[in-house]
Amino acid sequence: MIDKLFATPEAALADVPDGATVMIGGFGNAGMPAELIDCLIAQGAKDLTVVNNNAGNADAGLAALIGAGRVCKILCSFPRQADSWHFDRLYRAGKIELELVPQGTLAERIRAAGAGIGAFFTPTAFGTRLAEGKETRHIDGRDYVLEYPIHADYALIKADRADRWGNLTYRMTARNFGPIMAAAARITVAQVRETVELGQIDPEAIVTPGIFVQRVVRVQTMRKAA
């Protein structure tokens, strides 16, 4: 029998080693797997390279992981926010490395990793500081920049429903990076609101097929108003 359901976040993240590359889903707090991140902080893995759109908001979730000094490098598109003080402090102190990636290039590099693409040419950022030193090519009248995939050891994502094969659905804009990160990581851990029996998710409605998901943890999330 295939059973990807783990009883606790602790069991699902027990083997994350120091130095791992960890993708973390979410756009701001929507889709951020807060309980998995809390567990990763308690688990103690350090020198992590994190891939996320942002660099943490306020004091919880990714911000807490960064604030705890566990992240040595972050790849993201939009670190600077009104409430990104943990990142800001460590960045200004030279204690965290930043690889700034345009958001669409970040998404496509993650997608490329999951899809087995070796590299791709994108028009985004051509002629800008973020393309400095990168290979370029003129194709059919346009200029493009060569970008490489981003692979990860782990992806921590938040979905809505799952079954024991790891099929996932999401909820509204909490989907964001979840499906592409799931495909790009060697081990994808999804925290979900609800687990259901096989067949209870309409195959037409499955967003992330279970082939991309290795571990599922049900988390009783309080859905609070923003």
Binding site: P79, L98, G104, M172, T173, R175, N176
Partner: protein, 216 residues
């Protein structure tokens, strides 16, 4: 001279958004454009975090933390809306499926280069988000900004001095003084918006030569 305020600039932009357009609105002033689209036009708002058919702000008390806009504010989805993941969302942008994006800017050059992501100051923490993808991918890039800096210098320049977001991509500029088209042969004045501003005075403030052909 009476300059346009932020809402008046948004009203002016909204007038140019045609029925049926798929539009991405940047954070800040561009977001205001949604409030002023004429009622007889149906447009589809794209939000980079995975919505086509973004609706207005939710009523107090009905916010949902899973439904936010690109500015991470609570949002709604209209009937007919679709959700999708980030690679699809930026495929829409890069793939030329977005008709118009409206962006703020620090500077726009006479060639249509835009600078809006980084002041270039050494201690600034850079953040780019989706701006470079929108600049490179949207069919039309509209820029909204104040025409002059606080020191009175034109933000429309021969060459941008701030780090670039995209090259030769801006199609139209909306400021508190004027609407200006960026064309292969240079900048064309569409209309003066500030009351009591003459073409000569606008030309003096603008710094970059403006072409103007009165409607025949």
């Amino acid at each position: 001279m009476k300059k346009l305020d932020r809402n008046q600039i948004a009203v002016r932009v909204a007038r140019d958004i045609p029925n049926g357009a798929c539009v991405n609105l940047g954070i800040g002033l561009p977001t205001l454009v949604a409030n002023h689209v004429p009622k007889d036009r149906e447009i589809v708002l794209h939000s980079e975090n995975g919505i086509l058919g973004l609706g207005p702000k939710p009523a107090p008390g009905s916010e949902d933390e899973d439904l936010i806009d690109a500015g991470k504010n609570p949002a709604t989805a209209l009937p007919g809306a679709a959700y999708f993941h980030h690679a699809d969302s930026f495929g829409m942008i890069r793939g030329g499926h977005i008709d118009i994006c409206v962006l703020g800017a620090f500077q726009v050059s006479a060639a249509g280069d835009i600078a809006n992501w980084h002041t270039g100051e050494p201690d600034a923490i850079p953040a780019v988000g989706g701006a470079m993808d929108l600049a490179a991918g949207a069919k039309q890039v509209f820029v909204t900004m104040e025409h002059l800096t606080k020191k009175g210098e034109s933000k429309i320049v021969e060459r941008c001095t701030y780090p670039l977001t995209g090259l030769r991509c801006v199609t139209r500029i909306y400021t508190d003084l004027a609407v200006i088209d960026v064309k292969p042969d240079g900048l064309h004045l569409v209309e003066i918006c500030a009351e009591g501003l003459s073409f000569d005075e606008l030309q003096r403030l603008n710094g970059v030569p403006l072409k103007y052909r009165a409607a025949a």
